[in-house]
């Protein structure tokens, strides 16, 4: 938390726009971006005039591979939002590419910005005037709260458990080493080098395992599996487009337009969703459409949340009932679409069938109720009504960043042990790793080592 380092973040909320911007602010912004940005004709980033948009590629310096084609702009201090040097990288390749770009930027020495930190800097550096100070404070506390709740709910599941386990084994060697150091004359079983190496090695493997799930290839898997389902022509593809804010799926008034499954990633109020538009379900003879329907069922099986779409301008059909039965055991939201049209649908019946699942009236065409839908999803998520299935996935770049740092600390420790460095030096790196892991799960680790010493060892005389 210092104002002299360089920070970076994806500054457009993920998925809310087609393009993601990785924004870097601080003293080293240009240098950092310069290390990964390749402009045509090898122009150096320092030659780029302020406030121009420049085409180029982001290249991973390690593999030499291009990560994304980007538009990069440089804004030199002090005439910028934060009054620091700012580099903005417009990524084209969607979320996964922008995440990869951000990762590279962090590897090159930037720190992931805290919620509201750009604005905080803008204020601290005199860019924002006094009257807005309170608004800035509100912003920070609000953003942090959401981020925190979000992080926590994400962590409810496997991730926090796994991190806890790693921390526990690190804590146990730390406590043992510290007990031996602080109470040298007690008969504590001294920890062996082999034990230390084993524990560190195991932790390194565990962290690597966690990090693997966050590799770009697998980021595709992240997000809550959300499936939009409904009979043909109810407006499923329209909803997908509305949520994405772009024309991703083809929309026509011909029933059965969508034949294949369309997957997209969006971020709703901080919650990453993988949203799936499906082929409308109806009893059909058309083979292709049939396959689509089968696939829909498959996706349903994997879904964390189902959006069931009904047509307000139509009566409840056999197909609708079939669909509702199909998703019976799933957490779902029932959307009565086309509410701009005269209503034919019997709402009471819908509510009856809905049971505890919420029912919302929307009109995708008129953009009515879309925000309510987003809110509904967020509410259900935070209440823990929807949760992610399957294995632990690191969705959060902050987590990834901290895990990588912890990994490096542990590698240093491993190296130090093998070089025969004394215990007090080895603990420097192990402690650092332990604190980094603690940061991920938001645990203050203050006196835990000391507490552990006293609960495990009978020391003192």
């Amino acid at each position: 938390m210092s104002e002299t380092d360089t920070i970076a973040a994806i500054s457009t909320p993920l998925g809310e726009a087609g393009i993601c911007i990785v924004r870097i602010s601080g003293r080293d912004a240009l240098n950092i971006a310069g290390e990964i940005f390749h402009a045509p004709k090898r122009k150096s980033i320092h030659e780029i005039p302020s406030r121009t948009i420049n085409y180029g590629k982001i290249v991973d310096p390690l593999s030499g591979q291009a990560v994304d084609e980007v538009l990069l702009s440089v804004m030199k201090a002090p005439f910028t939002y934060t009054r620091e040097d700012i580099v903005e990288i417009n990524c084209h390749g969607g979320i996964s590419a922008s995440k990869k770009v951000l990762e590279l930027v962090l590897e090159k020495g930037a720190r992931l910005a805290e919620p509201g930190e750009f604005t905080k800097r803008a204020f601290l550096n005199g860019r924002i005037d006094l009257s807005q100070a309170e608004a800035v404070m509100d912003l920070i506390s609000a953003k942090t709260d959401t981020a925190l709740t979000l992080a926590l709910s994400q962590l409810e599941g496997g991730l926090s458990k796994k991190i806890h386990l790693i921390m526990e084994s690190l804590l146990s060697i730390l406590a043992n080493i510290e007990a031996v150091i602080d109470f040298p004359e007690e008969d504590i079983d001294e920890i062996t080098t082999q034990q230390i190496i084993d524990t560190i090695g195991k932790s390194i493997e565990d962290i690597k395992g966690l990090l693997e799930t966050s590799d770009t290839g697998k980021i595709i898997k992240e997000g809550l599996n959300t499936v939009i389902i409904g009979k043909p022509n109810v407006g499923k593809s329209s909803l997908l487009n509305a949520l994405l804010d772009e024309k991703r799926a083809i929309v026509t008034n011909i029933p059965g337009t969508t034949r294949d499954i369309i997957e997209e990633f969006i971020n709703i109020k901080g919650i990453p969703l993988k949203i799936v538009d499906t082929a409308g379900i109806r009893e059909t003879e058309d083979i292709i459409e049939r396959i689509g329907v089968e696939k829909t069922k498959e996706f349903l099986h994997k879904a964390d949340l189902v959006l069931i779409m009904l047509d307000a301008a139509d009566e409840l059909t056999k197909e609708d009932i079939l669909i509702m039965e199909l998703v019976n055991d799933k957490r779902s939201i029932i959307l009565i679409n086309k509410s701009d049209l005269p209503q034919k649908l019997d709402e009471d019946e819908v509510y009856k069938m809905a049971g505890t699942n919420p029912v919302l009236k929307i009109s995708v065409l008129e953009n009515l109720g879309i925000d309510d839908l987003k809110q509904q999803i967020a509410d259900m998520f935070f209440k823990g009504e929807i949760e992610q299935k399957g294995s632990v996935i690191i969705t959060n770049i902050r987590h990834q960043d901290l895990l990588k740092k912890a990994l490096n600390n542990l590698k240093d420790a491993e190296n130090a042990v093998s070089l025969g460095m004394p215990l007090d030096l080895i603990t420097i790196d192990i402690k650092e790793a332990y604190y980094k892991l603690g940061e991920i799960i938001g645990e203050t680790v203050g006196d835990t080592i000391i507490d552990e010493i006293f609960s495990r060892f009978c020391v003192g005389k």
Partner: protein
């Protein structure tokens, strides 16, 4: 009660334990007219617990006190009967000296030091009242009605505030070793609105050396070559006295468990919270039921007494049980107890009520130091004592306080923990509490602090010159090692592989690079040294070796420190109103109000204050700054 005017001082120190002695000496040495009061002149620098000084972290504190110009290390060297360097194989940061002393000599020589100190009067009296006017301290009143005026008062009354001695079913108001408690002072402090807490601790029985069968114990000698505690002691040549090690037995455990119903600790007669790191034997047996035996160290209390301290057998069990229990230990079958072990409960001042200079937040000129602040241990007391003394003197002189932070010294860690985090048990220093411990080594305490001590007037010219000389020697030697280059000739390679068991050079390199190899010690560089005039003193060699060998880690910690310093330098205004700052979470707000931190850094260490709260504080600070500058413009 009739009172009379008895005298005027710059600084009054109440209590002459380990904190009081350092405080009084520091003030007097800084040229202030000082008086120190003790309940009993024969109890100056008393060691009511074991006769040892130092150990990990504690030894570090002693070295720091010494580096600042304090007395504890010097006095320990004078009264030494055994010395050990602990943790020699665990790394440079955690090596630590531990001394066994002759208690009597320790007391007598400290008493004499006080008595001979210019500007210092030593008096026997019980101070019962502190005089305060308009939020400022004015002086003290003794039990016999003497009124002493003082510009600053330092309370270092240890465990004497409302102390109660507990031995089994017997308990009475009293201080350690049969001394009087200080009851009225405790009431007086409460009257000023201070929040007091209650702690307990206990001590072990003393037995007669003539009743011990040493053949059943393991003898433990001191180090062959004594490294003195004080940077000013050139060397120590004494006949050392050994200690012995024995163990409790299954029978010891049974006796304790059979009589646990009579333990005041388990019956609930003792309500004060005791330390986890210094548990009584009954506590250890109950909490670690599986452990078959516990260590017992037999430590002589001095050369001129047959009293022996039984380290590891702290207890407040009834006297008859103490006798039975002690006699189950191999070698102590016929032990005669001379003084029984006892538990002691006492009041302490909740230390979050103190400022970093150890002055109370609410009364100007009133300082507290030592066990009254909730710490335990002679060393922790001395460390606070010297800081309170220095700061009381600076307060009287109207100068800026001496503040040590967590990266300067263990003393800084100690004080910051006390005033920022508060405490739940008697606080003991541990190396694991120091986040920058590789920098806060016992060997470099002088390099860290002696300059400060000199500027305060606590280090004399002669010592300072020696210190500068040592610094220069280290610099020159580092320079020389950098400049001495070796080329991979056959002769050199042979020396490396055959004589030093290292690997041959791949390219020309200097001595620094060689010394960085784990298997090469500073002394082994001699084989390459054609210029043999460089025989450095031990302390300088040690510095060179550590600074070179652990450079990478030292840099790592130095970087952490500069981060830390940045946050410490962002000061929070003294009159900040946390209720007016929107956006702080309630828990953070309450704790900030309680601690009233000095800096953003300190605020971030308060429990319940998270990074978002810190961001909000930063913005608030900036907002205030701009309001002020806008007003200035008008």
């Amino acid at each position: 009660m009739t009172t009379y005017k008895a005298g005027k001082y710059d600084v009054i120190v109440v209590g002459a334990g380990h904190a009081g002695c350092e405080a009084a000496l520091a003030c007097a040495r800084m040229g202030l007219k000082t008086v120190v009061f003790t309940i009993n002149l024969d109890s100056i620098a008393l060691m009511p617990c074991n006769p040892a000084i130092g150990g990990p972290a504690k030894g570090h504190l002693v070295r720091e006190v010494d580096a600042l110009g304090g007395e504890m290390a010097v006095n320990t060297d004078k009264s030494l009967i055994q010395m050990k360097m602990l943790n020699t194989k665990k790394g440079p940061a955690v090596r630590a000296l531990r001394a066994q002393t002759d208690k009597r000599i320790y007391q007598d020589s400290m008493k004499l030091t006080l008595e001979r100190q210019d500007n210092l009067d030593v008096k026997q009296a019980e101070v019962v009242e502190i005089i305060v006017k308009n939020g400022k301290v004015q002086g003290v009143v003794t039990r016999t009605g003497a009124v002493f005026e003082g510009k600053a008062v330092i309370i270092t009354t240890g465990v004497y505030l409302k102390s109660r001695i507990i031995i089994g079913e017997v308990n009475f108001s009293g201080g350690p070793s049969g001394l009087f408690p200080a009851n009225r002072l405790s009431e007086c402090l409460k009257g000023f609105g201070f929040e007091l807490g209650r702690f307990k601790t206990d001590t072990s029985p003393r037995i007669d050396i003539r009743s011990i069968d040493f053949s059943k114990m393991t003898i433990q000698y001191g180090d062959e070559k004594i490294i003195p505690f004080s940077f000013t002691t050139p060397h120590i040549e004494i006949e050392q006295v050994p200690c012995w090690l024995t163990y409790t037995t299954e029978e010891t455990k049974n006796i304790i468990l059979d009589n646990i119903g009579r333990s005041p600790l388990f019956k609930g007669d003792i309500k004060g919270k005791g330390p986890r790191y210094c548990p009584s034997i009954e506590d250890k047996v109950v909490r670690f039921m599986d452990k078959p035996r516990h260590q017992v160290f037999i430590e002589p209390e001095g050369r001129t007494t047959t009293e022996i301290y039984v380290q590891g057998m702290n207890t407040s069990l009834p006297e008859d049980i103490q006798v039975k229990m002690i006699r189950t230990i191999p070698g102590l079958e016929n032990a005669e107890i001379m003084r029984a072990g006892y538990g002691i409960e006492y009041d302490y001042i909740v230390p979050t009520q103190l400022k970093p200079n150890l002055e109370t937040k609410t009364i100007n000129g009133l300082f507290t130091a030592g066990q009254i602040n909730g710490t335990s241990g002679y060393e922790e007391a001395a460390a606070q004592g010297i800081i309170a003394g220095i700061n009381a003197a600076l307060y009287v002189k109207g100068e800026e306080p001496l503040l040590l932070d967590r990266s300067d010294a263990y003393i800084g860690v100690l004080i910051d923990d006390l005033i920022t985090k508060g405490i739940k048990e008697p606080y003991r220093m541990l190396t694991s509490r120091a986040e920058y411990r590789l920098i806060l080594r016992q060997d470099n305490a002088d390099l860290r602090l002696t300059e400060k001590g000199y500027r305060l007037g606590l280090i004399d010219e002669e010592r300072y010159k020696k210190f500068l000389k040592k610094k220069e020697m280290i610099e020159t030697e580092l320079q020389r090692l950098t400049e001495t280059k070796l080329t991979p000739t056959e002769e050199i390679q042979e020396k490396l592989t055959d004589e030093l068991g290292s690997s041959p050079l791949k390219e020309p390199s200097n001595l620094i690079e060689l010394l960085r190899r784990p298997e090469i010690k500073y002394d082994s560089l001699k084989v390459f040294d054609y210029d043999t005039q460089h025989e450095l003193p031990r302390e300088a060699k040690e510095q060179v070796e550590i600074q070179v060998k652990y450079k990478g880690y030292i840099e790592k910690q130095t970087n952490q420190i500069s981060q830390f310093k940045r946050m410490e330098s962002r000061k929070l205004p003294k009159d900040i109103d946390y209720d007016k700052i929107k956006g702080l979470r309630t828990e953070a707000r309450e704790n900030l109000k309680k601690v009233m931190p000095d800096s953003i850094g300190q605020a971030s260490r308060i429990s319940g204050v998270n990074p978002a709260d810190i961001s909000i504080l930063l913005i608030y600070l900036e907002q205030q700054k701009r309001i002020r500058s806008a007003e200035d413009d008008k």
